[in-house]
Amino acid sequence: MRASRLTLRFVALGYLAVLLLVPVGLVFWRTFEHGLAPVWASVTTPAAIHAFWLTVEVAAIAVPLNAIFGVVAALALVRGRFAGKWLLDALIDLPFAISPVVVGLALLLVYGRSGWLSELPVQVIFAVPGIVLATVFVSLPFVAREVAPVLREVGDEQEQAAATLGASRWQAFWRVTLPSIRWGLAYGVVLSTARALGEFGAVSVVSGKIAGQTETLTLLVEKRFENFDLAGAYAASTLLALIALATLLAMTALRRRAE
């Protein structure tokens, strides 16, 4: 019994090590192979700094949008009674099912030069709005999928109690519903952020990859890699990985508090 449990633990950890830790660790290793100075130089080039801030900016727009949509969608899914609920349920998972590259192409079809909405006053494709749209699309399901089960578990009795005590729907939402789903929401936001920071495929199609303008961190990594600037690619990767790691740590801390 004890031996088999140890074996199981060893296999699980070994699997994770080979699949995740070793590759990521190697990136870190190669990054700092020649000390800190070259790394610092390659992450402080104007293009790198711009890519960093663009990535943060896109996430800062996409994640709040997803959080609001996710809460509303979860409320509709769990509390709502309307025809076509199954459709909403299925649509929310669409970004999980569709490859990001396809998402990018679809956005091109809609907003591109010969697309349906090509006449918009703002430029979408090859500009920041397109990157935001692509990012929102691919990171859409996380909040709704984290919040919905929490809502279901909490039930609606507390909201009913709030109503009998005179709270309007809006007051009941802010004072009762939102606090009781806060950990699920926070978890969904963290996952959504991690996904937004790391998105490559869809953004790659719609951004146009203009250095200093529409180049995000993931695109910068790809460009440097293609140009045989391996050290630069590793440095940018490490920067990206560190941001992702920070969000993951935040998530673990949140989960601890939730429990």
Binding site: E157, Q158, Q160, L165, G166, S180
Partner: protein
């Protein structure tokens, strides 16, 4: 005063309320009593505005409330599973109704302290619901409901999730509280003992209808039908009729031709009471309840032949409703 007229409510094919009318007197404590699925909770939720009736009307203190949302009905509602706001302390829970009404802070503080003292939770104001026992949570829920000074207090199986001894204690406490606060109260319960002990008026429900309304004693002594009789207490079946076991008089010798002959099958001593199980010539069994003194005087023993006669109210046993139905606990 609450008046309910011809309420009907369906959930799909299930008829939860079937043309229900009821009047709850000002300042009374009325119990809606019935088995699960009888429609009592639905009736309470319709009065609260948490369910919308398909037909009929609800009037609270003379004003039509049928289409009024729960927020504006002036009610206090207590849920079986407390519905405590888990992320708020006891004090914040009780203050909730006043806070959403934007009452001045000083007033809220004073009112909440007063209520916490009333329900005996003054020492636990800073705790969270998870740190309270079931009984304490329910007292908190009651204080929370009373904080907004409701015109009507509605309690949905408030003690249903509690241990038997806590339940008995809280029910005595609720009765005292009602005598003190005097708010018109409707209590839903499936426990006939609870209803008889706490309420001054009972409305017995079965299959989405109110079968009988009246004072507890009135219903116990003059049940309208076999269902009410069976639901409110133990019954013995005698010759197609129902009678209370303690209303069966046993004699060693027949007094006249109305007495029925029976043989003692078993005698069980239950402290002060003695239960005598008898077999009639027809083969039917009937159970009688005697005091110990009566049993001693008769010297009842297994195999004896006795004569019995009902001395209390009798109701024809209907075949549709099983009279020996015992309320689920």
């Amino acid at each position: 005063m609450i008046t309910v007229r011809s309420l009907t409510k369906r959930f799909g094919d299930f008829i939860a309320l079937d043309d229900v009318s009821l009047q709850v007197e000002e300042g009374s404590l009325t119990a809606l009593l019935g088995p699960s699925g009888s429609g009592k909770s639905t009736l309470l939720r319709v009065i609260a505005g948490l369910e919308t009736p398909d037909a009929g009307a609800v009037t609270i203190e003379g004003a039509d409330a049928t289409r009024v949302p729960p927020q504006k009905r002036g009610i206090g509602f207590v849920f079986q599973h407390y519905a405590a706001f888990k992320h708020m302390t006891v004090r914040e829970n009780v203050a909730f109704g006043l806070r959403v009404r934007r009452r001045p802070r000083a007033e809220v503080r004073e009112k909440v302290s007063e209520l916490l003292a009333l329900v005996g939770l003054d020492g636990l104001a800073g705790r969270y619901p998870a740190q309270l026992s079931g009984g304490q949570r329910q007292r908190m829920a009651l204080a929370r409901a009373l904080a907004v000074e409701p015109r009507v207090l509605l309690l949905d199986e408030p003690f249903g999730a509690l241990d038997a001894n806590v339940r008995a204690e809280l029910r005595a406490w609720l009765r005292r509280l009602h005598d003190e606060v005097h708010v018109t109260t409707v209590l839903v319960t499936h426990d006939q003992e609870e209803a008889m002990e706490v309420a001054d008026t009972l409305a017995v429900m079965d299959g989405g209808r109110i079968v009988q309304t009246g004072a507890p004693r009135e219903l116990y002594e003059q049940p309208a039908n076999a269902f009410v009789m069976g639901f409110l207490g133990p019954v013995a079946r005698l010759d197609g009729h129902l009678v209370r076991p303690h209303d069966l008089v046993l004699r060693a010798r027949p007094e006249d031709e109305r007495d029925v002959e029976a043989m003692v099958a078993r005698v069980t001593h239950l402290g002060f009471e003695v239960r005598v199980e008898l077999v009639l010539p027809s083969g039917d069994e009937v159970s009688a309840q005697l005091t110990r003194a009566e049993a001693d005087e008769l010297e009842v023993a297994r195999g004896d032949i006795l004569w019995l006669r009902p001395a209390g109210p009798m109701v024809a046993s209907a075949s549709s409703t099983p009279p020996d139905r015992v309320p689920a606990r």
